[in-house]
Symmetry: C2
Subunit: 216 residues, 2 copies
């Protein structure tokens, strides 16, 4: 019975890890749609979000059943409670990738991001993607060192967000209000994806060490 229980607990974290992989694909594909202005690619992200949502339901149900049937305490209980929090943040990350895809779709056959702002948005997407990729390792291996590294990478995201605003608000902006609003919101979506990655990583650190590094 105990062994079956640990298998189930591992199963929940395996599902979280798999969800993180789906979020990674969503962020990557949404960025591709954004930078190419390809409506079909954007649609792919939007319809794939249902899969992330249904995984969320599965994890919530499995976690609930574990709590109900096994009545775990201490560290095991902490892991399941963390899983419930992590799953809702992962779902949210998927929604944010979907938002990126929707901005891309709205501007087809044009591009939402003007040429001279592409480097910053591309860099933000690369950082977001790297963070989600590392998050998968944090979750699957409950790797505390990898979690700490995420907070460091997030500092670059914060810098890029400031640069993004500086670029938008310079006096010689010629791309009009629509492009400015799109890029401001896109910057926000990538920043939030990164924030959630750090928040989840902090939860994992808490599960492993009992210590909460930064407010998640």
């Amino acid at each position: 019975m105990r062994e079956a229980y640990y298998d189930e607990l591992e199963g929940v974290f395996a599902d979280l890890s798999e969800m993180t992989r789906l979020v990674e694909v969503a962020v990557q594909t949404a960025t591709q749609a954004l930078l190419t202005g390809d409506a079909e690619i954007a649609e792919r992200v939007i319809s794939a979000d249902a899969e992330i949502d249904s995984r969320r339901e599965k994890v919530e149900n499995d976690a609930f059943n574990l709590l109900s049937l096994q009545q775990p305490v201490a560290g095991d209980l902490r892991q399941i409670v963390a899983a419930l929090r992590i799953v809702s943040e992962l779902e949210r990350m998927g929604d944010l990738a979907e938002h990126v895809a929707k901005v891309a779709r709205l501007r087809v056959p044009g591009l939402a991001v003007p040429e001279d702002l592409r480097p910053t948005i591309t860099r933000m997407s690369t950082i977001a993607l790297e963070m989600v990729g590392r998050l998968r390792v944090v979750i699957s291996d409950r790797d505390v060192d990898a979690a700490a590294r995420l907070a460091e990478i997030d500092e670059e995201m914060d810098k890029l967000r400031r640069l993004n605003f500086t670029e938008l608000l310079r006096k010689d902006w010629t791309h009009g209000v629509e492009a400015a609003v799109d890029v401001a919101l896109l910057g926000r979506y990538y920043e939030r994806i990164a924030d959630h990655a750090v928040g989840i990583a902090n939860r994992v650190v808490f599960v492993v060490t009992g210590d909460f590094p930064v407010a998640g």
Copy 2:
């Protein structure tokens, strides 16, 4: 022992209700700062957010202890799991009110919202505030009818969000890129506050009826 347990469970929901009241104050005060351009009022929201965060910690700890010491099942377990989800959404609503206050602070002594966009932003803030006020009743009374009403009110928020974009993107926009970006982000913050209110209300419906009305 059972009675003490129900008192503790009620205590968790009383804390959630009190947190909702703090969020309500935050949204109201942030909007006041936004519409008056008063830096002191903005600061008040920003520093008050720590109180919401510390309440979140208390609810999480209390819920954890209830799970650990009382090993609830069925409906009681469902309530505690819902409380964990609700508390993180409430914390997030507080953060969003803080974001509104920060936009206000950034433009002092000016106003972030141009005169002719004030009606829509004011209406969005009024709707958000009404939703948070009703959410408090949903949580404290676990009132399913009041929860259903929230989803209806949210439809007006969605309409206002579209109107907000239409206003921003009209051809004769004369307020510059900075104001457009501010108003686009402010619209997003109020919309998200409303989304969280609906998400929490749906969780409460689930707790009471076992049925989930809309993806939260």
